[in-house]
Each structure stands twice: as structure tokens, then as C-alpha cells.
Symmetry: C2
Subunit: 185 residues, 2 copies
């Protein structure tokens, strides 16, 4: 029981270490998170609303963060054809290049040093914990498209998949991105 308390303390500490990494290159932790999200999310999820749900913040806050990133030339907004209310977000070349200097690489390096079994256990444990927290909070999983129950593999020919929920064709590359709507198969 108190072992759980210790675990919580360690997780708290780890979280602080992670946000500490987020102050490189004049950006803020949340701005890095936004860039990383936009690099990983599919076109249905690269919107202010998607980012808001991912970060668990209010839309006003996220709107401000995106304005800052747009002013800095790291993110581009384009109107969403088909829904005049919605905005499509994309990393600019500068935004993508910025990710090469992502401080989270430090965490990756610290991970590499650990024995393979510890890494595997850690991965499984964090995955289970994230799922568990999201459950408690009824948050979205933001899992990978391919692992979704709405995903129809090769429904339109070789390498041409389909999303039954959004009724949209999916290219091979998109199947590996994260999606707002994802629900485990």
C-alpha cells in the first residue's frame, strides 16, 4: 500500500523532470507538446479541438498557445473545407525541424541505459496506468488508427484502408498516426 504511495511520488517526480525538459529553444512545455501532437496526429485530429482534448485543457488556453506558435512560424492554420467552423493545423517546415531539438530525447536516452526487461515492464506499466487514469476521467485514448475498431484494413485495395466512423479512405501512412476518435478494437 505504502509502496503505491512511493510509486505516486516517483511518478510526480518523473512528471516534473519531463516538464523541465520543455524549456529548450525558447519554447514552453505546452508548446512542445502541441508540436509533438501535430507531428503524430492524423488529419482528422489536427485541429484546435483535437489538441484541446489531448492536452486536457480549455479551448481558450489552447487557442492562445496556437496563436503563439503561429506567430513563431511553427504552425499553419488553414480553413477546413467541408466545415467552415473548423480549422486545420499543420506543422510548417520550421515546426517539423524544431522537433529535432526536442528535449524529450533526454528521457529517451535515460531509457536506453536501462536493461531491456525493465524497459519492457516500464512500458507495460505506464501504458496500463495511462489507460487507467483516462478511464477514471473518461478521457479519450488517442490511440493509433490501425488499432481502432472503426478501422477497416485494405478495404479499398492494397494499402488503402478505410475509417467506418468518419467514412473516409485512409492511406497507409495515416494508419500509424494517432486519432481523436480512436477506440480500442
Amino acid at each position: 500500500m505504502d509502496s503505491d504511495g512511493k510509486t505516486v511520488e516517483l511518478i510526480e517526480r518523473l512528471a516534473r523532470l519531463v516538464t523541465n525538459e520543455g524549456h529548450a529553444h525558447g519554447l514552453k512545455p505546452v508548446q512542445w507538446e502541441a508540436l509533438r501532437y501535430l507531428a503524430r496526429a492524423n488529419r482528422f485530429s489536427r485541429t484546435p479541438g483535437g489538441l484541446t482534448a489531448y492536452l486536457g485543457l480549455t479551448k481558450g488556453t489552447v487557442s492562445q498557445t496556437l496563436m503563439t506558435l503561429e506567430r513563431a512560424g511553427l504552425v499553419e492554420k488553414t480553413a477546413n473545407p467541408g466545415d467552415g467552423r473548423s480549422v486545420r493545423l499543420d506543422l510548417t517546415a520550421a515546426g517539423a525541424a524544431m522537433l529535432d531539438h526536442d528535449g524529450m530525447a533526454t528521457i529517451g536516452k535515460a531509457l536506453e541505459v536501462l536493461p531491456a526487461t525493465v524497459r519492457a515492464d516500464l512500458h507495460a506499466g505506464v501504458e496500463a496506468l495511462v489507460r487507467s487514469v483516462l478511464d477514471l476521467r473518461s478521457g479519450r485514448a488517442f490511440g493509433i488508427c490501425r488499432e481502432c475498431r472503426h478501422f477497416a484494413a485494405e478495404a479499398r485495395g492494397p494499402g488503402l484502408h478505410y475509417c467506418r466512423l468518419l467514412q473516409a479512405p485512409l492511406e497507409e501512412a495515416e494508419a500509424g498516426q494517432i486519432c481523436q476518435e480512436q477506440e480500442a478494437a
Copy 2:
């Protein structure tokens, strides 16, 4: 493929979930971290400098946060006898009571749901990772007094320990607190 990369993404997500918990009762995430630190740290470490090292921030920032907490009546400052520069920090009764509403309990709840083996593996993994990151960054461990190489158990009689580094007697309760100076035995 890059299983480590996925782990880093999960850790990033977990860190975000943790900071999301930090907005209860009108406090900010960092303020909660300060309260938790002050509840766990021994008297040698309950100073602005100790908190600064723990959080990995600059001393100016921490000074501001402490002023806010002091104004809110959650933290008390007293002069440190023996060193006129230093300030001793203590939780007030209100500060200690505030910790009963700590949002990190949500993480603890999410943890409880997991199978015991997963919890144990997670604990070991996070512990190893935190250590590894601190190593890379040459940060202090802030481990528990009793597990320090400067700790002399029962050096002054039953339940009366001693710190060889600070040359100070330690009561039983203090042996379980975290310390700024801690170095693994």
C-alpha cells in the same frame, strides 16, 4: 520498431495527466508540488534553495511561488538560526490540511486498479528511469534520509540517529523524510 519511442510518448502523456491534476482548489500544479515537498522534506531541506533544486527551476521563480503560498496562509517562513541568509519553510495547519485534497490521489486510485505485478514492475521501472534521468543531468536524488551514506543509525542511543555530513542528531521520524543532501548508501 521503436518501442522506446512509444514509451517516451506514453511518459509524456502521463506527465500531462499528472499536471492536469494540479488545478484543484485554486492552486497551480507547481504550488501543489511545493506543498508535497514541504510535507516530505526534513528540516535541512525545507528551504527555498532545497525546493529550487527539487523542482529544477530557478530560485527567482521559486521565491515567487513561495510568496504566493505564504500570502495564501499555506506556508510559513521563519529565520534560520545559525545562518542569517537562510529561511526555514513550514506548512501551516491549513497547508497540511490542503494536502488531503491532493489531486495526485487520482493517480494513486488509477494505480490501485492495476494487478500487483504490474504495479511492482512499474514502480521499479519508474524508479530506475528517474535515477537515470537525474544521472544524465547530474541532479540530486532527494532520497530518504535513512538510505543515505551519511546516515548513522542509533548513533546516539535507541531511535536517536545521526547525520555525519551535517553533523546533526536525527530523530526517528526524520529518518523517513527526504533530504537535499541524500546520497545512496
